[in-house]
Symmetry: C2
Subunit: 148 residues, 2 copies
């Protein structure tokens, strides 16, 4: 195994430990897949295609995605496609999406001032103590679709 893959294996195990989940082969492979693709949302279909090469079932992919989401490791993002897409929750690189309502093209931007807003929200809503992640998405027509 290459140096960087070795490193990702370690990070994958740490992720699972932190989440309090058993470090099974399927989950480790899943986490490494996430770490290998940090830039774009991953669909269940893509993950299944890749992980089935290692004998991991579609149902298992769903179940792992669900488990990691509930632990705040993953977030499910809505980019207008029918199927679920998932991204790793990365506190440092807090990026968000601008999505075209027509062609569903996704662009990223950074710098939503979430902390102040989360504080404000938690003061309004009493039955939450903390937030595991947030989404801030902008929707509109891209220049190409606007001129049709």
């Amino acid at each position: 195994m290459s140096r960087s893959q070795e490193e990702k294996l370690q990070r994958a195990k740490t992720m699972l430990d932190k989440a309090g989940l058993k470090k099974t082969n399927a989950r480790i492979a899943f986490c490494i897949l996430l770490l290998n693709n940090p830039t774009k949302p991953l669909s269940i279909e893509f993950m299944t295609n890749t992980l089935s090469l290692r004998g991991i079932d579609r149902v298992t992919v769903y179940r792992i995605a669900d488990a990691l989401s509930k632990k705040g490791i993953l977030k499910r993002v809505d980019v207008g496609s029918r199927e679920a897409q998932y991204e790793i929750v990365d506190q440092k690189e807090d990026h968000h999406h601008i999505i075209c309502l027509e062609c569903k093209t996704v662009s990223d931007f950074t710098g939503c001032e979430s902390e102040a807003i989360i504080d404000k929200a938690l003061r309004q809503v009493k039955n939450f103590k903390s937030i595991s992640h947030h989404s801030f998405d902008l929707w509109g027509l891209c220049n190409t679709c606007a001129h049709k």
Copy 2:
């Protein structure tokens, strides 16, 4: 027809005019339904149940929801349920959601400072001129689910 329903009929027609969509019976009934239920996200199922009493088909409900979304009149909200939920886009009452990852309970909060963030985003992403709506959602475990 009562005074207030008459008024909603007018508002529905105005909505459709503004969107540049034909004012069909189905669309007018759909818009009035939205105006009658401004507080909570409406599911396709709920809308279909109501509108089918007027002979409007489920498929038509899907198509109208899609058409209005693309025009920025409606927004599709993701509150963790399997089916689509829709809300009217209301610039004045800019509310957002806190959703429990476990039990999917939705609470509302207001006061996300979207304008500054949208400006910032449009400076970063060049192929959009304007934004028709935005979403800002917070995800976490509610107090009840956190103690399980």
